[in-house]
């Protein structure tokens, strides 16, 4: 399988660990990636509040670049994924909007290239292939899979098994030998970019998510979105300070967890975290 890779702004800067682990895991699983040349920002978190048409045209521009490469496009960042899916949906279902978007990007979308999330790509890989790549199974490691919102909603846009109780990430954790915990906050919202404008409210949302994960017995939280990661990992000390809690829960990208289980050197990825990452396997 070969895919056009749309890293997006975060994976190129504050969330390099997500990109590094994603690229390494793809290599291990035989997925070839080619970065889309001169990709542009998807517009999240602002363009959609300024202009509906521009917010669709930005990711459409990059999707058409992928189509020119003759490849489907994978966007590991959940926000890039959702924004690109909105553009794809409008261009496939709304001819009037498609015409407007094409006028803005001055290119035509033929409808051949599709947008894929990390979880969609991974669910295309045979289970045996993933299992075979695991050299350090996550034996006894309890993982709370946190999907957040934009990866799974709205359901007519995002390709997800169940928007209230998604399972694709849990399945991967199980294949890695870990134990996905059953918990009710899988798809709660962390507040995303509201952390910049309404910090107190977002810290409260983060506190709730960490608390429920802890109550469910999780050792670690797995995410697939740079903003979920920032709000739960980088902000964990601020949460503890504000609420008098003492959370010390590592928050890792699902691809970092895969890399670690597949024997890939994760020290440089985990060095970038705020909460020290310790994966305590049972002997």
């Amino acid at each position: 399988m070969k895919l056009a890779y749309y890293p997006g702004c975060s994976l190129h800067s504050s969330s390099k660990g997500y990109s590094d682990s994603f690229v390494a895991v793809c290599k291990k699983l035989g997925i070839e990636l080619e970065e889309i040349p001169d990709w542009v920002c998807c517009g999240a978190s602002s363009a959609h509040s300024v202009s509906h048409l521009l917010s669709l045209a930005l990711p459409a521009h990059t999707l058409v670049q992928a189509e020119k490469m003759g490849l489907d496009m994978v966007a590991p960042c959940a926000a890039c994924y959702q924004r690109a899916k909105f553009a794809e949906y409008e261009m496939l279902n709304n001819p009037e909007m498609k015409a407007k978007i094409e006028q803005v990007i001055e290119m035509e979308y033929k409808g051949k290239s599709r947008v894929l999330s990390v979880l969609e790509v991974l669910s295309m890989i045979e289970e045996d292939k993933i299992k075979a790549a695991v050299t350090r199974p996550l034996t006894g490691v309890k993982v709370a899979c946190y999907y957040g919102c934009v990866l799974v909603r709205p359901p007519h846009i995002c390709n997800v098994d169940d928007p209230e109780n998604p399972t694709k990430m849990d399945r991967i954790v199980a294949l890695l030998g870990g134990e996905p915990v059953d918990w009710p906050y899988k798809t709660e919202c962390c507040g995303a970019s509201h952390i910049f404008t309404m910090k107190d409210a977002c810290l409260k949302l983060g506190r709730d998510i960490l608390q429920v994960a802890k109550d469910a017995g999780a050792d670690i939280i797995a995410v697939a979105c740079p903003l979920c990661h920032v709000n739960l990992d980088m902000r964990q000390t601020q949460i503890n300070k504000k609420f008098g809690t003492s959370f010390n829960i590592p928050v890792v990208y699902i691809t970092e967890l895969m890399a670690d289980a597949m024997g890939i050197d994760t020290s440089d990825m985990f060095r970038r975290h705020f909460v020290p990452v310790e994966i305590k396997r049972q002997a």
Binding site: C9, S10, H12, S13, S14, S15, K16, D38, W39, V40, C41, G43, S45, S46, A47, H48, S49, V50, S51, H52, L53, L54, A57, L58, H61, K100, Q103, V104, I105, E106, C149, V150, R153, P154, P155, P163, E164, T187, E188, C189, G191, A192, S193, H194, F196, T197, M198, K199, A201, K204, L205, M234, R271, R272, H273, F274
Partner: protein
């Protein structure tokens, strides 16, 4: 609670609301006020008006009140409401449509932080085609006057190699500006 003459309200604003329904494609007339949206909303606890009440206010023509509410800007667009709505009302799309209108009419003084955030974000997007995270954070701290916000995270971010000093750039540096211009011409807004 102040008194509102609803007959007058609808006379004044009925047309605007109908245009909003037409333009956004979200038919708020279908809402029967079950309140499921507000029950599941993760941000409702900080909203001045709950999501179901925003819809009710629109149904009644209370347009000015909706424009003055912080709720459309507090909505995180997580779409929990829309996923659960028995009447299939796309609330995030509605909230975004209200945001676009208030932003472009510069009626955003009641949401100063959001105004600062979005105008900085768009500035860097137009300039570089990608987001300059350091520039965005500096703008926020300077313009909100909250100079030392998150200052404790700055150095670790640098040491962990997660904060680039120089902005990213795309090769075609006028691309986004030209796209925004064409979008503005088509939409008639101020993208």
């Amino acid at each position: 609670m102040k008194e509102v003459n609803l007959t007058e309200k609808w006379k004044q604003n009925g047309k605007i609301i109908e245009e909003l329904i037409e333009h956004s494609g979200v038919d708020i007339r279908n809402c029967y006020q079950c309140g499921k949206c507000s029950a599941g909303c993760p941000m409702a606890f900080v909203m001045d008006v709950s999501p179901n009440r925003i819809i009710r206010m629109l149904q009644l023509g209370m347009w000015e009140e909706v424009l003055q509410s912080r709720t459309p800007w507090i909505c995180a667009l997580c779409a929990t409401c829309y996923t659960r709505c028995p009447r299939d009302i796309d609330l995030p799309k509605l909230m975004d449509a209200v945001r676009v209108i208030t932003y472009n009419k510069n009626m955003v003084d009641h949401v100063k932080n959001e105004k600062i955030f979005h105008s900085s974000f768009m500035k860097w997007l137009y300039r570089y085609g990608r987001i300059y995270e350091l520039g965005l954070v500096l703008d926020l701290n300077l313009k909100t006057g909250n100079l030392f916000n998150d200052v404790e995270l700055g150095l670790p971010m640098v040491l962990k190699g997660r904060l680039d000093f120089l902005p990213p750039r795309i090769k075609n540096k006028d691309l986004i500006r030209r796209m925004a211009e064409r979008a503005r011409q088509i939409e008639g807004g101020q993208a």
